[in-house]
């Protein structure tokens, strides 16, 4: 059973790589594929580890708030940066993302403070 599933997985991988090769984009794709891996493993993750040593002793609520804020920011960064705006089409990226992101982060901060006040052990 295990071997069958492994073979199926390997077949999907070969199919995907074959498809990329057939499109003639394998090399350019591999640069992005590997580049993102390096960006995560060599830059982002060590950065988080360093940040972790700094905030490790901070209150739990603050750490939770920072996790939510940081990951939320990364997930929405392409939209918030609004680099994709176009003159011919104002319905693309139509909002005031700078203001909105401040509001969202302020709400996360408020929740973290509320959480801290409610859960702290006196």
């Amino acid at each position: 059973m295990r071997k069958v599933v492994h073979a199926a997985g390997a077949a999907l991988i070969v199919l995907g790589l074959g498809g990329l090769a057939a499109e003639g984009v394998l090399l350019k794709w591999a640069l992005w594929f590997g580049g993102l891996l390096v960006a995560h493993d060599a830059l982002l993750a060590p950065g988080i580890v360093v940040a972790g040593t700094v905030i490790g002793r901070w209150p739990q609520s603050v750490r939770s708030g920072l996790i939510v804020a940081g990951t939320l920011l990364l997930a929405t960064l392409p939209t918030v940066s609004a680099l994709g705006r176009r003159a011919d089409n104002p319905s693309i990226l139509p909002l005031h993302y700078g203001v909105n992101v401040v509001i969202v982060l302020a709400a996360v901060a408020l929740l973290a403070v509320a959480d801290h006040l409610l859960t702290r052990k006196d």
Binding site: R2, V5, H6, A8, G9, A10, A11, L12, I13, V14, L15, G16, L17, G19, L20, E23, V25, K28, W29, W32, F33, G34, L36, L37, H40, D41, A45, I48, V49, G52, G56, R63, S64, I67, V68, T71, L72, L74, A75, T76, L77, P78, T79, S81, A82, G84, R86, D88, N89, P90, S91, I92, L93, P94, L95, Y97, N100, V101, V104, V108
Partner: protein, 369 residues
Amino acid sequence: MIFPDISTLSARFTSRLRSEQVAAKLGAWLGVSFTVAFATGLFSHFVQHPPTWLLWPSRPVNLYRVTQGLHVIGGIATVPLLLAKLWAVYPKLWQWPPFRSVGHAVERLCVLLLVAGALFQLVTGVLNIAYVYPWPFGFLQTHYWTAYVVFGALVIHVTNEWAKVRRSLWTRVEIPERRRFLFTVAAACGVTALVTAGETVTPLRSLAVLAPRDPRVGPQGVPVNRSAAAAGVVADPDYRLQVTGAVRTPLSLTYTDLVRMPQHTVHLPIACVEGWSVECEWTGVRLRDLLRSAGVAPDAFVTVESLEQRGGYRSSEVRPPHWNDPLTLLALQLNGQPLRLDHGFPVRLIAPNRPGALQTKWIKEVRVA
């Protein structure tokens, strides 16, 4: 500064949150998320590029809207989850010796494909919906083919880790710190979904403050993907709609002719492949009525062609289940007003359960095969 000994590096990560159980729980959630993304992604791909034998149905009306909303909003909400999982297993990257055997090396290669592939899918996905394309290849092909690589590697990884998943999944996390961490990650995913989902889930639209679209903003209060300016289309006073090909009576209709035909009003969503969607009121001529008056066989394949000169979506195929559906219109009005040029004036296609890219605008010809 003493350079750390790499052979003991992985033991120097001290956070108690990085446990097998935490990694297994996050992994199980990721497994669900990537499976949903894979399934909805394949659905979207084959709806847009159907093999000849595939007659996908025109109902349920909102099917594509729901699957693509799940794909995109689920994808955005997976970013915190993936980052948390990679954080939890990061010390394993530095395990020593790096390869204990050939089998172990192959296993790690699979993990490499899985991690890089997952990062690739999420990064290209969130950039693409924000209309940022910094890569030197087509998004569509690479996002599609990489999905197979990721899912294949995922299947292998899950098989290898199944014992740990089974051990951890149904047991309660006893250490409060770890429970809190998992809850925090879930909250991060939830908040991320909450501030974006409203671009497709209408009741949440006021909360969609970090979504690339507001379903209320655009010409006639409806977003547009490709403007008339971008498509190079201008209003033509001598406009005629041609119905040609395998027809008994070829038709050539002016805008006034179309307005004089029986008009129907339907409520259908425009559901973009990039994840936003909005239901609108459309008024126009049933494609079925038009094709019947031209004398078309009910099982014919039909192509609608745009005034656009270039672009991958200047024409689209309308197969029998869709053009026979009474909801499928050649729309002349949107929300009670004549279509603006950006929405496809004089005539655009609107059909149920169909991606926005195939709701062809500025139609000049209906060709029957």
